[in-house]
Symmetry: C2
């Protein structure tokens, strides 16, 4: 539904001069009258879809509800400014649940110096739903978007991919600090965070930039949990397939000119492993190199369960 | 739960220099590095609490989800800048429901020149929940808060009160234009919107300002629907009781110095009826004048179903 709905929504939405990025990137960019701009993003997590409340400590749910938004801001190289939290709590034990959610949320908020500026705490007969809106400001280098990659740019990724469902999707550290450092020190051309799958989100970045992307599958950093999932259920795919399609890695995909990519890969100050997995190409689509050196199409895989309209 | 939870949350939240109003007023005021500030508020509406989806056109639900936030901005005399929408849709018929919600929402957004900057559209096994975050900028006169009323200031209200449940709570026009006009032309000292009940929200405004409030009940503008509800169910209270305690009127309570109040009441440019119903007094608490001219305590009445932490 999401892609079609987004098309409908974009058509229905009038153009506003102050809205520079809306419904296209990981977050919206809203100009302020006078000067400056604000980056804003929202994500809602729901019981039974993004987590199962029976099986997880609510603190991890609260943490994740903010973390996914921090990841969206990282994708734009924006600095977090303040968060607003709306929550619908099941009636039974709602007071205790609210506190546990907030304990997880506040701990991460403090880590990223992000005040909770407002909230709306409701009780109802439905399951738990929690929605966080995060405001930020673009880095001095300007907002990073999905549309700036050019053929020849190298594709760099942070961290490792696959098997996030085993726990990483709750406990990941959003790449905010890395994004701010990189945006300040390197000519980043485009960025996106991997929420729906490395191959799917890379194909989105390439499409938004009007080019294609080629990767060498042997270079993709595969998380230990991707191996674990492939071992547990071999029919679920190879470790590489998990890495390319699982999603919820919340790592960054970045586009940089080759020389900048070289410098960045030699930079020990980043703190997070960066890996070059391929490059952007003129021909649209997603491509992979095979063992014999030839190129073949790579079908983007991933899921849409977050369905963020601003993504 | 809400008041106690808010106390707990305020204690748990570290102080941030950039957050001038958080968890106290109708909206938060967030300073931007450099210059300027953003006003932000969030409200979530849930099926079975704020509306009954079986009984109402989803367009009215979508409209209300934005309207309640516009009302919060009006209470701060802030101009709307952009909205973000997160929605959890019941699986059955979710695509049609999403469009209907947005049709109501977009129509009101256009009326108030407010772009929908981002969204998150989810489908789940739960009932409908919709959360709107609204960003705004303070009027040139600065943000209107709850804490600026002084003893001697007059109490003015927009519109009429009571019986909102008969339909007004869906169809009210948020007092954004009025608030901006008034903030620009009059020395408004404090403001709040009536979401939970005229008497309850007035008592909150007075308490935040460190004073009390006295009203003449005969001056309270009573809506026709308050009379209708009292007629339908006499045991539910008198029309005046409905006006004082029903809530969801989404009218403004304003504090002004007496001479400014006089000028304002003679101003035909406002477009909305304003009524003087009393004044702020030094003695804390809420007071009413009786028929014999004496004063008696007035017990604040209202409901907390919105439970907005930022309110």
């Amino acid at each position: 539904m999401e892609a079609e709905f987004l098309r409908w929504l974009r058509e229905r939405t009038p153009k506003y001069p102050g809205l520079r990025l809306g419904l296209t990137d990981d977050a919206a960019l809203v100009d302020l009258p006078g000067a400056g701009a604000v980056v804003a993003t929202v994500d809602m997590l729901t019981d039974g879809v993004d987590f199962h409340l029976r099986e997880v400590d609510p603190r991890r749910v609260g943490r994740k509800s903010l973390a996914v938004n921090l990841s969206d801001l990282a994708a734009m190289a924006a600095r977090p400014l303040a968060a607003l939290v709306a929550v619908a709590l099941p009636r039974d034990g709602s007071a205790a649940l609210a506190r546990e959610l907030y304990e997880g949320l506040l701990a991460l908020a403090e880590e990223f110096e992000t005040p909770i500026a407002g909230g709306d705490t409701n009780t109802w007969d439905g399951p738990l739903a929690i929605s966080v809106t995060l405001l930020g400001i673009p880095s001095p280098a300007g907002p990073l978007t999905r549309s700036g990659a050019r053929p020849g740019d190298h594709i760099l990724v942070t961290g490792q991919f696959g098997g996030s469902l085993l726990g990483h999707h709750f406990d990941f550290v959003p790449r905010v600090r890395e994004a701010l450092y990189l945006a300040q020190n390197y000519p980043l051309r485009a960025g996106i965070d991997v929420s729906d799958g490395l191959s799917l989100d890379l194909s989105r970045l390439a499409a938004a930039s009007g080019c294609g992307a080629w990767i060498d599958p042997r270079l993709v950093p595969i998380a230990p949990s991707a191996h674990a999932m492939a071992n547990q259920r071999p029919e679920s795919g190879t470790p590489l397939e998990h890495a390319l399609g699982d999603g919820e890695d919340f790592e960054l995909i970045l586009a940089l000119p080759p020389d900048a990519a070289d410098r960045l890969l030699a930079d020990r100050a980043v703190g997070t492993t960066l890996t070059r997995i391929g490059q952007f190409v003129a021909e649209p689509g997603l491509w992979q190199s095979l063992a014999d050196g030839s190129r073949a199409p790579l079908v983007p895989r991933g899921f849409e369960h977050h369905s963020t309209a601003s993504r």
